[in-house]
Symmetry: C2
Subunit: 677 residues, 2 copies
Amino acid sequence: MRKISDAIKSGAEAYMSRQNRTIAALALILAAIIYAAYFAAKGEDITARRMTISFAAGALCSILAGFSGMWVSIRANIRVAAAARNSLGKAMQVALRSGAVTGLAVTSLSILGVSVLFAYFDGINNPKEVPGQIVAFGFGASFVALFAQLGGGIYTKAADVGADLVGKVEAGIPEDDPRNPAVIADLVGDNVGDCAGRGADIFESTAAENIGAMILGVSLYKIFGIAGVLFPLYTCALGLVASIVGVFAVRLSNEKDDPMDALNRGFYISSALALGGFYIAVQQLLGGNMWLFGAGAIGIVTSFLFVFLTQYYTDHRYRPVRFIAESCTTGPATTIISGISIGLECTGLVTLSITAAILGSYWMGVQAALPGVSTLASGLYGTAIATMGVLSTAAYVLAMDTFGPITDNAGGIAEMSKQAPEVRHRTDLLDAAGNTTKALTKGYAIGSAALAAFLLFSAYIDEVKMVLAQRRGVEFESIPFSVDIGQVPVFIGALLGAMLVFLFSSFAIQAVGKVAQTVIHEVRRQFREKPGIMKGTEDPDYGQCVDIVTAGALKAMILPGMLPVLGPVAVGLFFRNFAPATDGTPMGVCAVAAMLMVGTITGILLATFMNNGGGAWDNAKKYIELGSHGGKGSDAHKASVVGDTVGDPFKDTAGPSIHVLVKLISTITLVAAPLFL
Amino acid sequence: MRKISDAIKSGAEAYMSRQNRTIAALALILAAIIYAAYFAAKGEDITARRMTISFAAGALCSILAGFSGMWVSIRANIRVAAAARNSLGKAMQVALRSGAVTGLAVTSLSILGVSVLFAYFDGINNPKEVPGQIVAFGFGASFVALFAQLGGGIYTKAADVGADLVGKVEAGIPEDDPRNPAVIADLVGDNVGDCAGRGADIFESTAAENIGAMILGVSLYKIFGIAGVLFPLYTCALGLVASIVGVFAVRLSNEKDDPMDALNRGFYISSALALGGFYIAVQQLLGGNMWLFGAGAIGIVTSFLFVFLTQYYTDHRYRPVRFIAESCTTGPATTIISGISIGLECTGLVTLSITAAILGSYWMGVQAALPGVSTLASGLYGTAIATMGVLSTAAYVLAMDTFGPITDNAGGIAEMSKQAPEVRHRTDLLDAAGNTTKALTKGYAIGSAALAAFLLFSAYIDEVKMVLAQRRGVEFESIPFSVDIGQVPVFIGALLGAMLVFLFSSFAIQAVGKVAQTVIHEVRRQFREKPGIMKGTEDPDYGQCVDIVTAGALKAMILPGMLPVLGPVAVGLFFRNFAPATDGTPMGVCAVAAMLMVGTITGILLATFMNNGGGAWDNAKKYIELGSHGGKGSDAHKASVVGDTVGDPFKDTAGPSIHVLVKLISTITLVAAPLFL
């Protein structure tokens, strides 16, 4: 066990340190550009410096968040495998509590980062200006999260696809077989992709949501004062406490208990406590306005809905996965066709949930009847509070998510170190639950990303109006601002925003394919040159595969990563000098706003399609492996393996990267807005 | 030959008459609703009656257009096969000129329908009102086109996928083998899907574009008078003449000549003549304004660009298809992954072309400096003229398109009637060119749909403003109208618009899968119960397969077909009573406008992805069959067959149906707009 775990650890650490160096270099260049651009635009030093500091802090915290996820995971995997020799309950507790280390570290880092910056910039005395400066913290976080998720996602899937195609399909050896030279790279991938990537992603969601909500809180300053600005941080902190209780409440009473049921119980407890926390926060900071509490409750219910819908579309107890499994009997082509159609279909209910959440919380916000605030602004504050509701259990959800790769790795270690069958049975049970939680958190992450993005572009519009009000020397409220998509440049911005998401997905998927090809060739070479590997008399060179994937993933993440950074800036600068809209809104910011909104819409749909389509294929394969349609080794099973392989880059590379992309384009436009005016 | 051709003919005619009865019944119900709704809303009879008449006329003409395509095709296929016994050039000429019958019939029907209604409603004396009433002609046309394309698309691909999966993959018999019971259904499908569907599609594009441009012409009435309103019809008529010359110019000098080169020559000639026609029309009707001529020229260049980009992404001479073919060597999973990534990638350049066309022609329109017209209106007129430019060669393009299924069928007839090898070689050459033209026309159709939709929502905004101006008793120009996507209901409309396209695609693809399953079970049953079929001693029951597909396709088209009809109406009515936007724009029309625009954007991207992804898989298979990566029978070839099968419902069902969907949501909102106010 130690030998395997050490190999995983050293591979993961080597990758992470190279990845972080690359990302840090890119972030440094960007920090310099931000400073220069702000200095040139504003002609003064203080905003430029604060923006740059915030950006650097966000980037650094995001790197730490990702690193903490991986750090815990590569240490926990062997402990879980060892605990599985005693009992299922013990192993489960080790896995979840290790995951919770990440969940809590990431969420608290996010609250801490924003709070410290707020205090350091003297936000208590300048609550109207400082949130707009902390915005760059969110941008720094999403910038790092994008590369971490992309790089990790490419790594994990290139290794997985490569290992599976040569190992399972060509050589006919089982998954996690030590004879496969790419098997360690595959296990490393689980850590750097699933843990590190998702850690940076959720860090970024929480940070972006907090800052966005704080900016909206500023526009309600007249009513709630500083309490309205700090409200998001406070609810987040209460949610953290709720999550801790939830994690400790999870235990298995006996070996027959379903791990997934236990995890769900913890989620219910966390959510109920978070709801209570919301009530307290509203009483203390928002004058006990129960409509606003209602908006928060809508958010918590919506997070349930996201999780349930994902479960419906990716769990083999329900129609969609069974439909795909059924179509596996007629070969790989029908498997793919049905999976794609299910992926496309599930966007329907997910979109309707988002619609209901936005409309419902908007309505609650309007009903709150905040004095002296426009209908739009108070409605938007309602949606902001709903977003806080969704994200209040983020720490628990992230703990469940990290549970996935930890148990996956534990299973791999048990398999490779040839443990007794009951140990492997236990890790298999945990691994299955981990696959479900990984899928569920993706549903949660994209749902929260949708709401956070909606919040962020409300913040963007406020930010632009504030800059315009300052320049024109008029009241903030008197600035008209409409993103009129009937205007040609705005329509073009919208069109390009949607395109950006498609192109980004293409680049991400192509990157997986390219790196996977190099893995395939390497594994084939080893099998050819060392015939002893298959007989078990010779050790494969795991390190060579790890190196190839590391170098490939880092190179391949640059192109897709730069697209969402450069795209909005290019559009904003291009349309900057166009004639303003009829109500005087400058065209540059308008076109970028449309790009942002329609890019977000397309991103939500495409990510949902990819996450759930991929998850459904994965579980259709599992369903067949459990004995349906001929079970393992049947033609249906072979077809389902093709579906699973196609789904891999969907659900683990492109899909989760789009979550981050959606928030990155929101935060970069917030940071760059003054340049487009 | 006769026997096979007759079987195809009777199958196709039986399907078409059942399909048309179903569509006619749906159209009648809708006509009654339109009459009742307009009568109730306006309280007077004349608009209601004209709307209903226009709708019915549009629906009828669209049915005729689709029927004419199929009528010609099922008669031409055997003539082409017979001509192929003499020479390639002769066969080619028969195929193209037969296709031209459809192309010319459809385009002239479109011009004729709009002109006759215009005259019948006394448009010469009421040029401001009548185009708004003819709008329902476009809606009727798209309504029928949607069902025709969906039904035909489901039919053709269900039969194709079903026949291939059991025949080629399971039984190991070649394509178009007479022993396959589904082979006639497959050949019937080429006619009802490719000809009838595309005929109705292009009919509808031309009609919608003419009406949209006429409505914009109305807002320029002060400058050009009636000439501005009639300009679209005139350029269309000149384009028709240009297409006729182009068709007659196509000939092969010898057997070595590439059919595709000859077809391209015809396209160049048609385009050059259409450009000349544009010049004449601008001189005669638009006072020789050369900026407006420039906008038209941009349109013609853009149509070239669409065709070229499609060729780049789907022809095996270029990188994308070779990349997919290369990935076929590592199995079906990588084949699918690379095809999807190429499909997603190609949206980039296509979107940029559309962007360039819209911006360029908008700029030309603004430069035209039409006196007394707002910048926006004259810019939009520029984009309208560019759309006319794109569609001016529609008849030629449609002739090339119909060439595809005719030669496909001719190949099938030659194969099944066991013609001499050189005959089959000739039909193979034509079939290959036909596959290319089918792909190219899809690129052309989606590009023109994008521009036509852009035109239609400008028309929609004008229409709403006219109604508001009338109700409020103020000048048209003084009505503010912005589709501000920052407003919550508008954002929701946009989100639902994008979702609509995803859900529609899902339903369309699922329909193919479901009907294909029934075909597979039927073919397996026949093979099982009649063992003589495989030995060639017993005839399969072709009719049974044809019946199953017919019934299945007609039933399956209803659900996806109703979605884009009911969706916009539901959104418009839901948001009708919400508070208006800050500038007073009523929220119902606003939310629908956003739904329309973002639905269009998503539709363009998803259709491009599906059409080109599917086309690229198809040609990757052909490339391998030509001898690369092991040629026919190799593992790479098997993987490429999976890719091709997955691509089938993409490129022949969902993709082309989305073109129609995009225009249907434009026209239905135009018709239903008064209900949302």
